[in-house]
Symmetry: C2
Subunit: 248 residues, 2 copies
């Protein structure tokens, strides 16, 4: 590889050479199953080395001419047919030795992972099983061992989800379009833990804000009084944009 050696020499003789990178994108895709009140992550079974046969976050390497975000959308689209979708960058993990493909002391490529955080609606998200069908939603408490440092990435994504839930309306990206107020409340408690707030206070606080539209439609789930279905009204929410701490 004469081209590479040459490039090194141009810079400076005393410095250690620059690292060459392949850049991967890994997605932490969350959803919730409102019926069973489970917070879910999308995992895929790896079909190649390294970590063949292990579960991992859906990821891909960035291709020529492709932006990071494009790559993130691409894997998403390969794994899932989703109508709605929220996506944002999470964090970049890039220490040496995070990928076993990096030969310890060689001058081969380093692998760097830019992680993205995504939210989709469970009911509208159709998983795309390739021939080997290694793809599944996992409840957060039952996540198996993951390839690479994906457990760490997932943990980081989970933290981000908890934070975002408190001060931005991301809940409505994961909930179905029509939801009951206890769906919403349950989502908050499963993500934030019990005793983040009393139901009745949570309820009145949110209703007072005025961006939850009552459709009037009632649904009955087993015993008990039927609940109203609500819809998130993005326009009515607009004035709260950029103002933090609306929810709790």
């Amino acid at each position: 590889m004469p081209g590479r050696a040459q490039r090194k020499a141009t810079k400076s003789l005393s410095h250690p050479p620059l690292a060459d990178f392949k850049v991967g994108v890994d997605n932490v895709i969350f959803s919730v199953d409102t019926d069973q009140n489970r917070l879910l992550v999308l995992l895929v079974m790896r079909q190649e080395e390294p970590f063949f046969g292990q579960w991992s976050l859906p990821g891909t390497l960035v291709r020529h001419g492709e932006s990071l975000e494009d790559a993130a959308y691409r894997i998403l689209a390969e794994k899932i047919r989703a109508r709605n979708l929220y996506l944002e960058q999470l964090y970049t993990f890039g220490g040496p030795d995070r990928d076993p493909r990096e030969a310890p002391d060689s001058y081969g490529d380093r692998y760097l992972s830019v992680s993205y955080f995504a939210l989709v609606r469970y009911a509208e998200a159709e998983l795309i099983a390739d021939r080997v069908s290694g793809i599944a939603w996992y409840s957060l408490e039952q996540v198996p061992d993951l390839a690479f440092d994906h457990k760490q990435i997932l943990e980081y994504g989970h933290r981000r989800l908890r934070n975002k839930l408190e001060y931005s309306p991301v809940a409505f990206e994961v909930l179905p379009e029509l939801f009951t107020l206890s769906d919403l409340y349950q989502l908050y408690t499963t993500v934030l833990g019990e005793n983040f707030s009393d139901y009745s206070n949570f309820r009145s606080r949110l209703l007072k804000l005025g961006f939850l539209e009552d459709t009037g439609v009632k649904v009955s789930r087993g015993a008990g009084r039927p609940a109203s279905l609500y819809r998130f009204d993005a326009e009515a929410f607009a004035p709260y944009k950029d103002k933090p701490m609306v929810f709790i």
Copy 2:
């Protein structure tokens, strides 16, 4: 470059080839000059192409065997001798075409920038001028045109600073070790804008929290009653860790 072509072929014939990256680290280093109440960023004058002679954020390319964070600390240490220091990752900018060194349609290297956010104490930070001395603190309102997409990165860092100021004790990383309460207040107003809170309320809220230690020492700055010097007590702050929204 036969090695590279071979690697491509192993994967799949239909896919576009993977991009090869050089990874850069760019630091947004903030400080405040308490005397003049200016929020400052550290800029360096580029000594090489591209953007030769333009101001830019201090950055470097990641070397073989070096982690991203190591690289971030390395540039910092090259530019500044700082006792205290706060550093965290900001965001990764990685679209194609963000760096003019990328030939538009070639298969050359892409340049990706992982940005870091740093805070140092102005008084304790000694700038290291290399032979050409192209390094300086710039007041945020007077930042000139910057190389690459550094203006965007800086803007992003500024946003992060504003957020962090509200819910974490980063202010004490930028202030000198001993500071008056109006130093603190001024810092908040210069970063967050006027009318974020009335001085007297700000004051009593913070003192009630109990992690500001009054040293008893007084300083007089021109006319007016001399002010007490305070010190941030990290231990007393500990219970507030992870609890957001302590300051406002």
